[in-house]
Each structure stands twice: as C-alpha cells, then as structure tokens.
Amino acid sequence: MTPRGVGIIGAGPGVSALHAPTLGRLAGRLRIVHVADAGSGRGAAIAAPSGARHSTGVGELLADPAVEVVAVCSPPEFHAGQVLAAIEAGKRAVFCEKPLALTAEDARAVVDACRVSGTALVVGTNHVFDPAWARAKHHLVGNRGRVQTWSATIALPPNGRYHDLVTEVAPASPPPAGRPAPDWSDPRVAAAVVRQLVLGLGIHDLPALRDVAPVFEQVVFAQPLVPIGYLIGLVAGGVAIQLTAVMLPRGADALWRLSIGTGFDDVDVEFPPAFVHAGSATVTVRTSDGTITRYPATPEDGYVEEWRAIADALDHGQPAEYGELLDDALFAIQIADAAAEAVLAAAARKGTS
C-alpha cells in the first residue's frame, strides 16, 4: 500500500521535533509530502529529509493533490479556521493539534463540518491515545469503587532538552528562560495566560479526565504559578480535581503524572517526557491493603498511536467519534473559561483589579 500523503501546516518545534520524527516511525503508512510555514522559511528544513514540497501560507498545500491528510500544527488561534479550510479543499482526513478550537462556537462549527463532509478527524491529545491510559481506564471501569479524586501534575524543564534528542532542526522559539515572564500583577494577563495554558498544556489530559468525570461543575480556585503555570481546583461529576502545571527554566526531568483515587485504589499514570519516544506511560495501582502493582510500559506511545488512528481512518474506514471530539473540546473550553474567571474573581477579592 502506498503511504498516505501528509501535508503539515506549521513548522514550529511541535513539527520539527515531534510530528516529523513520529511520522518517520510510520513510514509505511504515512509520509510527509508538503510542509507549509507562515513565512519563517523553516518549512524547507523539515520538508527536505523526506523530499517533500514546502510553501508559505496554506493555499499551495491545500491545493496539492498529493496531500490526503492535512496536519494542522499552527498556533491554536488558527486551528479551527485551517481545519475548515482543509474540509473546504476536499481533504479526506485532518489531524489537528490540540486544542481543536478556542471557543465553543468554533468547536461546533469544525465538528459539524467534519460530520457533514465525512472528513476523518483526529485531535492530537496524545495522552488519551497512550495505551497506558486504556489500561488505567479499564482498571477504573472494571473495578469496584467510583473515582473520587483526580490530579494531573505537570512540571516541565525547557523543551529544548528533548528537542535535541529527536531533531537537528533549530527550534522556532526561544526556550522559556529567554521569554519575558507574564505580568502576573495584571489580573487580565494572568487570566488569559491561565486560559491559554489550560488549552495548550492541560488539554493533554482533559479528554482522559472527561472519561471518568464527564460533567463539569465548577472551578473552586485557580491561580497562576511563577515562573509560568497554573494551580486549579475544580469539581466535575462529583470528582474533586486538582490541575497543576509549571514550566521551569531549568531543573529535573519532566514530571507528568495523573493520580486517580477511587474508594479503594490509587492509580498513577506517569507519562515519559514530551517529544521523545520512550514508550507508553507506566501505570501503578495501589490497593486498599497497600499492595502495589506496576504495569509495564509498552513500546508504542500516544504520539505514534494518534497518527496510527489517522492511517486507520483512511485505510480501514475507522469511524471518527465526532460527538466525543466535540464534547472533549467543549469540556476543555468550559474549564479554561471558568479558570480564567476564577483568576479574575480572586484578583477582584484582593482588590487588585
């Protein structure tokens, strides 16, 4: 079978260090045929190893008949519009980096358009594609005891540490240490950054959270963390939830851990660092009596699996779960909006707004 042609919109580190190397692992099924940047010229370096074309803007890529799958890997504010453009261009499948959209209205428009056109759609929430999450979810669903608490704890050193292990293409943006810190004293800035972080970082885990706590209730507290991050407490489906993320200028290797507590068990899901391919997450279960079971990681990770889902949609007619994708997007937007409002409300209480 001839590999399906992938056209990638975007040429940032998420493409050079993540999607391009990942597609190299599925070379028999998918191949990069076109890379479009926004004028930076970085698309050429990403396209070169696979002999793909490169262009600026989205027009040439969408008109390229070799492109069967459009990968939307641009900044989040462009995602919805570019997915709609790909559908308009008659493309059969779209891989959209998370988030699918930044507003509920856009999310509905995108999913409706995919449904009407029959376009296969995969959103790159890689953690929910990780085989380890399926194991953890099976344990949670199959065993006694409802979920009572959930935490997602993320602590990240600069991405460059991991980019350097999977690519030689220079990163598109400076490491966090080189960026000016947000003006946390301005509540509007703080609220906007927290919202952006939830939809850009926290969203990795929100579809998995929705698996066990599908109905959003309220954000109890939300606050920015220095240098960049958030601490959010919320309740969904009766589950007490804590979302913690901090991006650090240096320090320990990445920590990315989901901890799910039921009336009987603690289930930890620990993901390897982003960008590298170190296999699936590991799942550890501690039962009431203190017995600890650690399930082994498997070779495949969520990055490979999310791209395999696109290939399966095209090769085997694997149906897209439009309703689930829309509900995932709306769930994340609800939490992001409520977290931003909580930041503003807290500032108002302190009299700083």
């Binding site: 309220q218 507290f221 606050q223 320090g251």
Partner: protein, 254 residues
C-alpha cells in the same frame, strides 16, 4: 536513665531498645508518660502532668474539635511533649531541604474514615514542612467522597486532595511534593517506610530509609528534651495542622 510509663506494648518494646536511657516505670512522677492518642488524649496528657510526669509522648494523636480548641499549652506546665504522628516522622522532616524555592506545593492523601482526620493532618504537616511555615486555607470544596483545598504557605501556593477509603482496614497513605527546579516528594503509608525523593538536573536522590521505629524515635526525642531541658514544637505544629484538617473534615461531612 529515666523511667517511662508506657501502657502501649509498642512503647514497651521501644524502652527495651533504649537500655541505657530508659527503664520501665509505673509511677508517673519524674517519668515520661506515654499517652494513647484516642479521643480525649489532651485531657489525659494534662492529667499525666498533674500526676508529675516530666515528659510526654502522645501516640497517634486524634484530631479532635474539643482537643484543638482546648489546647492550652500552659496546662502542660512546660513539660515537653513528643507527638508520634503515624505518617509524619520528625527525623525525616528535619532533613527536608528548603534551599530551593518551590513554585507550588501539592498533596494527595487517602484514608478510611476513622483515620481520615489524622491522615490529612499529617499531609498538611508535610506541606508545612516543605513550605517552611504554617499554611492558610484559601479555598475548599468537597466532591463525592473527595476534597479539594487550596492553601498557601510563606507565599507559596499549594493544593490538597483528600478522600475517604471505603474499607475500614485500608492503609492510610499520603504523597506531598514541592515542585520547583528541585522537586521534593514525600510518600508515606501506614506500616511502610517513608520515602523522600529529590529530583534535579543531575538525577534522583532517594533519602536513606529510616529503620528506627517511630515509637523509639518519639521516646528518644522526649528523653532528649527532658534531659536537656528543652521544649518541642510538636504540639504547636499539630494544632496548626489540625485546624486545617478539621476544616477539611467539616467540608466533607458538614
């Protein structure tokens, strides 16, 4: 050598493990008295002091509304009190490094209903240790069987997740972290060794396991305080932690 009045078997074992410093005694006068931490323990501690105890050890102190509000350390007449808290070992706490500021503190804990208060109390205690000072609760909400709490300690924000385990015999457990360029994490479960793990750019350091029983540790600390004429902060720290634990309990079971 000091006498130790210990009605609890585990403390009588601890006495035998301190043969040059402790001997078993029935008379509380001039002795260290071990007080069981069940309901009413503070009143029993005061009674022991009134009976002439030179020092006290309280084993597994319960978090009681009356106990906390009734704390008046003056009732203890300057007698040092060592608290033996199941999931908060003071020797491990003393070695926690706070040189690197943290961006955030987190804690998760779980216990059966009977041990819930003291487990969340110990989790909050660990956060206090990691923060380097007492915590304040800034937000609190219960779900179905679980609890979310926002705290702040010396300007560092933190969050606590706590829940009640169904089985009465379930093992209480906690995990607390200080997350920054250096990441410190403490994991503790009843009857298991407390594990302290520190991650930084160079890798992971796991602190050596403590093989001394917590009963021997508590007794040794009380003996040292009596011998040296020093006070311990245990009671004061417990009162601070317990106030927060009680706030959590009230939210979960209004």
């Amino acid at each position: 050598m000091i006498g130790v009045r210990a009605p609890l078997a585990s403390y009588r074992v601890a006495i035998t493990e301190l043969p040059e410093r402790a001997r078993s005694a029935n008379d509380p006068r001039g002795s260290i008295v071990v007080v069981g931490g069940g309901t009413g323990w503070f009143a029993r501690a005061v009674s022991a002091v009134e009976a002439g105890a030179a020092g006290l050890v309280v084993a597994d102190p319960a978090v009681e509304v009356s106990g906390i509000s009734g704390f008046a350390e003056s009732d203890l007449r300057g007698v040092p009190v060592a608290l033996d808290r199941e999931l908060l070992r003071p020797d491990v706490a003393a070695e926690i490094s706070r040189e690197q500021p943290a961006s955030v503190l987190t804690a998760t804990c779980a216990a059966p209903a009977a041990a819930f208060d003291r487990t969340i109390c110990d989790a909050v205690g660990w956060l206090r240790v990691l923060a380097g000072g007492p915590l304040q609760v800034t937000a609190l909400q219960a779900g179905d069987g679980g609890l979310i709490m926002a705290v702040e300690g010396r300007g560092c924000p933190g969050g606590v997740l706590a829940r009640v385990l169904v089985e009465p015999t379930a093992v209480p457990r906690l995990r607390v972290s200080a997350i920054g360029a250096v990441r410190s994490e403490v994991s503790a479960a009843a009857a298991a060794a407390t594990v302290v793990r520190m991650d930084d750019e160079r890798g992971t350091l796991i602190a050596p396991a403590r093989f001394e029983t917590r009963q021997r540790l508590a007794l040794r600390r009380a003996i040292a305080a009596v011998t040296n004429g020093t006070m311990l902060d245990d009671l004061h720290e417990f009162a601070i932690d317990a106030e927060i634990a009680l706030a959590g309990r009230r939210a979960l079971s209004p």
